[in-house]
């Protein structure tokens, strides 16, 4: 089972940031459960084979004030993919910081190595005012402005700043399947 974690405080953002990820999994007949980050408990984490932390809107980012609610990530060892806000919180949990960099719309990023079936220059959809910088993550892709894809140096934790549920849906499929 894939656990989708919603970091939206405003539930109406579910349609824009969580449902598109659910639809990709549904189309690929992949079993999933969606849970809001406040409702995460050990029982749910034990059931999950992998986790996808979905993004949120530019303004709905109060999860940053509650980063201690994601401390369980330090003990978790199964694969995790963070998307946008999911990348922010992975960076923060692992001793990083948020740095200002706005990118909105279609942009080209450059992969340094293969990442869930993607490499070289790829056009992606961006929607963020910040990116996360943590020394505990290896940088896999960058845009002209900032870090776009990372992998944790010791755990199977991955994160992208762009929105693969909008363009490059295959990235989510490949993470979920492989």
């Amino acid at each position: 089972m894939i656990l989708l974690i919603s970091i939206n405080k405003i539930s109406f953002h579910y349609y824009e940031f969580v449902k598109p990820v659910e639809d990709i999994l549904r189309r690929n007949n992949i079993c999933f459960q969606t849970t809001q980050y406040n409702d995460i408990n050990q029982k749910i984490l034990d059931k999950a084979d992998k986790i996808i932390i979905c993004g949120t809107s530019l303004k709905d980012n109060s999860f940053v004030e509650e980063i201690t609610k994601f401390e369980w990530l330090k003990k978790f060892d199964k694969p995790v993919l963070g998307i946008c806000g999911g990348m922010h919180l992975l960076g923060l949990v692992f001793n990083g910081e948020l740095r200002k960099a706005q990118e909105i719309g279609l942009k080209t990023i450059k992969y340094k190595k293969e990442f869930f079936g993607f490499k070289d220059d790829i056009e992606v959809y961006e929607l963020h005012n910040y990116y996360a910088k943590s020394e505990e993550f290896e940088v896999i892709a960058e845009s002209e402005k900032c870090i776009q894809a990372v992998k944790h140096k010791h755990k199977p934790f991955y994160a992208v700043l762009f929105h693969p549920e909008v363009r490059n849906k295959k990235l989510i499929e490949n993470f979920a399947k492989n």
């Binding site: 405003i10 539930s11 109406f12 953002h13 349609y15 824009e16 449902k19 598109p20 639809d23 809107s57 530019l58 303004k59 709905d60 706005q102 909105i104 719309g105 279609l106 959809y125 929607l127 005012n129 549920e165 909008v166 363009r167």
Partner: protein, 222 residues
């Protein structure tokens, strides 16, 4: 939360407004852009002046902004009217019916961010057949008012989006790769009735113009 809806009178923006209301948002105003550019990348054109009648039957104030439709000027005009909606109606968010256009969605996102408004796109990335089915199931009466792609022709104008239409457009999708909900600009629609309307609108006259695979139907409604 008080919100404004970017409203074109077509199925997507009306359905997005319906979802917002269903989730408890107070729709304080509708915001409509009337572009003089028939090939605008940003805005839906056919039957747009009819939005006044739609707003009336929704009993929601309508803000209209005209634009010459030059690419970046269009965005300045959009920003101006959203700023007015924020000032006059104290809205804290904007609802759009964007489904897949990164061009449209990203520009509205930028404007909302600069005005410190949240931006809601409840139809974003939605499967287009699912969208059509949802519209039918939620008692929307929607007609086609424009077709702009081969092999669609004038016989599609005035068609109601119902189960029969969904079957027909699905065949065209499979054979010609026409987007079922017209996301690529293949079709334009107009909402005559939906749960947000206090009464249904009726077409009393129609004028069809066009050629080959590009046709529009101007309607008079009451």
């Amino acid at each position: 939360m008080k919100v404004g809806v970017l409203f074109s009178g077509g199925k997507d923006s009306t359905y997005a407004a319906y979802l917002a209301k269903k989730h408890g948002y107070a729709i304080s105003c509708l915001v409509t852009i009337i572009s003089e550019n028939p090939t605008s990348y940003m805005f839906h054109i056919p039957s747009i002046t009819k939005v006044q009648q739609q707003a009336r039957v929704m009993k929601i104030p309508l803000l209209i902004q005209k634009t010459k439709g030059e690419k970046e000027r269009e965005l300045k005009d959009l920003e101006k009217i959203i700023q007015k909606a924020k000032n006059d109606y104290k809205i804290r968010g904007i609802i759009t019916g964007a489904v897949d256009s990164a061009y449209q969605a990203s520009r509205v996102q930028k404007i909302c961010d600069s005005l410190n408004l949240d931006c809601f796109n409840p139809l974003w990335q939605k499967d287009q057949l699912e969208l059509l089915k949802d519209i039918v199931e939620n008692n929307f009466e929607v007609i086609i008012t424009g077709v702009f792609a081969y092999p669609l022709n004038e016989t599609w104008l005035g068609k109601k989006i119902d189960e029969k239409y969904i079957k027909e457009i699905t065949k065209f999708f499979e054979k010609y790769k026409i987007s079922p909900s017209g996301e690529g600009g293949e079709t334009e629609s107009f909402v005559l009735s939906c749960p947000l309307f206090h009464r249904s609108l009726q077409v009393v006259d129609r004028k069809i113009t066009g050629k080959q695979n590009s046709w529009t139907m101007e309607i008079k409604i009451k």
